[in-house]
């Protein structure tokens, strides 16, 4: 009987000592914003594409911002920035991606009047996609650019280094779609 009492006492002590310290966890890997800056070679207006979802999964729907249409026949230097704007100041996740370049690759699936080529490489000489060259073809309406970031893709799989996502595998960290005209 002594043991029973002891055990119960121990239990109730534990029960009382559990104070609630509910913490709010910092979402370290949250990506809120994808920004694609396109600077035309030989002058002209910059084109900026922004996908933004400040409250993360669920909640309010994300917003898409397109500053201008692409100009037919122009070649643009593209730069991607991946941000967490829920932090103040915003956290630049691009740095983390560049540090782990071998484990990341962006893919660009576009309408037929837009072509995107890689303009950077990781330590193994494989593309990353933070720097790109975008070529606008003939004037056409409703051209899409789907930007996908894969974590741990197989960069050696067939076609992957050339930008074909089909055999890449890995997990999708970013997948956003922009629709704009080439004029």
């Amino acid at each position: 009987m002594k043991h029973v009492l002891l055990f119960t006492l121990l239990g109730s002590m534990l029960m009382l000592s559990c104070n609630e310290d509910n913490n709010i966890e910092n979402q370290e890997e949250l990506i809120t914003t994808v920004r694609y800056d396109l600077i035309p070679r030989g002058g002209g207006s910059n084109v900026i594409l922004i996908f933004r979802d400040l409250d993360g999964d669920g909640g309010n729907a994300p917003t898409t911002m397109i500053s201008d249409n692409l100009k037919a026949g122009k070649v643009y230097d593209g730069t991607l920035s991946i941000l967490n704007e829920a932090e103040d100041p915003a956290e630049d996740i691009t740095i983390e991606i560049r540090d782990e370049a071998e484990e990341h690759q962006f893919f660009f699936q576009t309408g037929n009047q837009i072509q995107v080529a890689y303009n950077d490489t990781d330590n193994n000489g494989k593309p990353i996609g933070l720097k790109t060259i975008l070529t606008a073809g003939n004037a056409a309406a409703s051209q899409t650019i789907k930007i996908t970031l894969r974590h741990e893709p197989d960069k050696n799989a067939s076609g992957v280094a050339g930008g074909n996502i089909q055999n890449a595998g890995g997990e999708t960290d970013v997948e956003v779609l922009f629709t704009l005209d080439v004029e």
């Binding site: 029973v4 994808v34 979802d53 669920g58 999708t172």
Partner: protein
């Protein structure tokens, strides 16, 4: 001198019987190590030992086709004993007549695994062990994370009890396996009808009872040492159990470890499907005529790998993975390495039970248990965060129970009260928002249960339970903690009726249950990696009410054997489930499927059958089948993850070898058929149900003795023909084939 002579004239007469039908067993061998003498039973199962001195003796009983057993008896006068032996094959669900008449689960359809049937399964997970029972299936997320389903229900709707303690863990997750180790179990039984009065409303679908820490009143050290190896996954494991009595206390202590690497389909490795498991515990007891005290502590640790190719981001990734014949990340090399995605679980149980006879027919029982469940889940993450858990939960549960029992002439009564307190915490450091919020819950209950023998052939049981559930939930909404309070008045009514005679037993059981919704069903929010979708709870859910009727009949058919048939129907009002939303959610990672907890009425019904026949001396033939339908009656469609039709047929042959009577060879072959799940509409799941398949298993067990210690050496093979298949209930079927051929080698020594 005269005294000593007089003492050594004692006579022991005995009989060896089959535990299940009382049939006497001839040519059984009774060995007394203290005398180094062997005795053999005659044609009526009797034996006589004369000229014994007073004292304590071991009786080691061997019989072909039975587990050898040791009994320890003090002889002080002429004594008559009956030894009941357990058959290698459990013939039928606990046949009522030979079991204790006062057991409370008589009117419920149940099935017990013991002896060598259990022995053959022990190296597997609890879910895999019980899934051989008709009506019991499992949901798997690969071999490492398997959950048992009893007649269509799982998770929070079944109770899993180890040595009287109901497991309290994060059972809501579809990829969360129960934290109970079956490798030392003496007996594992499944109650298939609802058993809510004793075990609470969470026993809506049934109960799994695991007896691990049996206490024996034998002062000598006894134990079991076991080691095993599997070729598929190159799994090796060992376990030891020691039992005895010291300083007036009985003890039972056990430890085990198991390690396996990447498993293999007939064609490729399943990378990152290794696992590591360590478990151990100690139970002590002090038993006297008037009171008994038992104290136990045990701990289990698991590190479970999840197929790398099954870890996906959004719906595009899912679609890509679905169309591949070989999963992404498949490598040529075998490895024991376990990396993210993986789960790390530690479960500690401490329990004390005190029982006292307050008069000749009254008993008071007090029990208390404390359980801590720590669950960490690791995902493939950016920036070296794969070593940081994305889910880190600590669930602390305490349950106290006080029960008064009265054993009348024909009526037994139990009145009891339970109190359970739980505290669930998301531990800091995950760098992610929690899926299930922090909460506290308290659940006081009261129950009343009566079992009455109405006549020599009729027995009735009835009971009721009231269960209050209170929750304080701390959910994070827009970076602030939002506290909600919820309370529910649930409960259950149970009524059972049994008719039995020498050849037949018919059990009919009806139960009504009102189950309070769980915190996950009301407040989960966010990405659930286990289902690769966003999952949202519904705080307005109310009680889930179920009526289940089970009819269970066992019949001796003479030369045609024995048959057991279970028919059941369960109507659930406001059945809570995860329903896919029409529109996927758009996120920065692309589109995600959305599942919302919702309720609809459901009707679950089915049929389980077990048939055993003794074809020749030593040759048994066992046939099983189970069929189930689970329909959402509001939308008139089958619920996803309803087990498909399964049937199996097994032959077991015991061959006595010359020489020592304890030497025998046991052969078994089994054929298993799984039908295609045709009822679930293809559009309701990611992928259409896989095709039907057949599997074959077989093996040889050599029962012998080494220095008078019984040893069992088993060599068996599962999936003999290395068949490529996918199982509807295994969620890895979306990504990969199921495992191929496995050779299993096991050596067990008892002392």
């Amino acid at each position: 001198m005269k005294g000593i002579y007089a003492q050594c004239l004692l006579k022991v007469t005995g009989q060896v019987q089959d535990r299940h039908d009382g049939v006497s067993l001839e040519f059984a061998s009774v060995y007394i190590p203290e005398l180094k003498k062997d005795y053999t039973t005659d044609i009526t199962g009797h034996f006589t030992i004369e000229g014994l001195c007073a004292g304590k003796y071991h009786f080691d009983v061997f019989h072909i086709g039975c587990e050898s057993q040791s009994f320890f008896i003090e002889i002080s006068s002429d004594t008559m004993v009956i030894f009941q032996m357990e058959h290698h094959l459990e013939l039928l669900s606990e046949v009522l007549i030979t079991e204790h008449k006062h057991d409370r689960n008589l009117s419920q359809a149940s099935y017990a695994l013991t002896g060598s049937e259990l022995q053959r399964l022990k190296s597997q997970s609890l879910a895999a062990i019980v899934s051989g029972i008709p009506g019991v299936d499992m949901i798997q997320s690969g071999g490492n994370a398997a959950k048992p389903i009893i007649q269509g229900l799982t998770g929070n709707r079944i109770a899993m009890v180890s040595d009287g303690v109901i497991l309290e863990s994060q059972q809501w997750g579809i990829d969360h396996a129960p934290e109970i180790n079956g490798s030392h179990a003496e007996k594992i039984s499944v109650i298939k009808s609802s058993a809510p009065v004793l075990y609470g409303t969470s026993a809506m679908g049934g109960v799994i009872l695991v007896d691990n820490f049996k206490q024996v009143e034998d002062p000598h050290l006894h134990g079991i040492v076991n080691s095993s190896y599997n070729t598929n996954g190159r799994a090796f494991g060992g376990s030891a159990k020691l039992m005895g009595k010291m300083l007036g206390w009985t003890y039972n202590t056990q430890a085990m470890f198991r390690k396996n690497g990447d498993q293999h389909t007939p064609d490729y490795f399943l990378n990152n499907t290794g696992s590591q498991e360590v478990a151990g515990g100690l139970a002590i007891g002090k038993i006297s005529d008037r009171q008994s005290l038992r104290i136990r502590a045990d701990y289990m640790f698991q590190n479970l790998g999840i197929l790398r190719g099954a870890h996906i981001g959004n719906t595009t990734d899912l679609e890509n993975a679905l169309y591949r014949s070989v999963p992404f990340f498949t490598e040529e090399q075998f490895s024991y390495t376990i990396e993210a995605p993986r789960q790390e679980i530690g479960h500690l149980t401490t329990a004390v039970n005190y029982s006292r006879n307050i008069s000749a027919h009254q008993n008071l029982n007090f029990s208390y248990n404390l359980q801590q469940n720590r669950r960490m889940e690791f995902d493939v993450r950016r920036g070296g965060r794969s070593d940081k858990p994305i889910i880190d939960l600590r669930l602390l549960s305490q349950t106290a129970n006080l029960t008064w029992e009265h054993e009348g002439k024909s009526i037994n009564t139990k009145i009891g009260a339970d109190f359970r307190y739980q505290d669930n915490d998301n531990l800091p450091g995950t760098g992610a928002l929690p899926l299930i919020p922090d909460y506290m819950s308290w659940k006081p209950s009261l129950f009343f249960l009566q079992a009455a023998d109405l006549s020599d052939h009729f027995h009735a049981e009835y009971g009721l339970r009231y269960e209050y559930t209170g929750y304080n939930i701390f959910k994070i909404v827009n970076n602030a903690i939002e506290e909600s309070k919820k309370k529910f008045n649930g409960g259950a009514i149970n009524l059972g009726f049994v008719y039995y005679n020498d050849l037949t037993s018919i059990k009919v059981d009806a139960s009504y249950i009102a189950r309070a919704p769980q915190v996950n069903e009301m407040y989960n929010s966010g990405l659930h990696q286990g289902i690769a979708a966003l999952e949202f709870g519904n705080p307005s859910l109310g009680l889930e009410q179920s009526v289940k009727i089970t009819a269970d009949a066992s019949q001796q058919l003479g030369k045609a054997g024995k048959i057991n048939l279970t028919l059941y129907g369960q109507k659930v009002k406001d059945f809570i489930y995860l329903a896919p939303a029409a529109e996927p959610a758009l996120t920065v990672r692309g589109a995600f499927l959305v599942y919302n907890y919702t309720n609809n009425d459901a009707l679950i019904s089915g049929l389980d059958m077990l048939h055993v026949v003794n074809l020749l001396s030593g040759l048994d033939w066992t046939n099983k089948l189970s069929y189930i339908r689970a329909i959402n009656t509001d939308e008139n469609k089958e619920l996803v993850l309803t087990p498909p039709f399964r049937a199996s047929s097994a032959m077991n042959y015991d061959l006595a070898l010359g020489g020592l009577k304890s030497n025998s060879l046991e052969f078994f072959v089994q054929w298993k058929y799984t039908g295609r799940q045709n009822e679930v509409a293809d559009g309701d799941d990611f992928l259409a149900a896989p095709e039907a398949y057949h599997l074959a298993d077989g093996g040889i067990i050599f029962h012998s003795s080494l220095l008078r210690l019984p040893i069992d050496l088993e060599l068996s093979c599962s999936n003999i023909f290395n068949k490529t298949y996918r199982d509807y209930m295994n969620r890895l079927r979306y990504f990969a084939d199921d495992t191929g051929r496995n050779l299993h080698l096991n050596l067990q020594i008892k002392f």
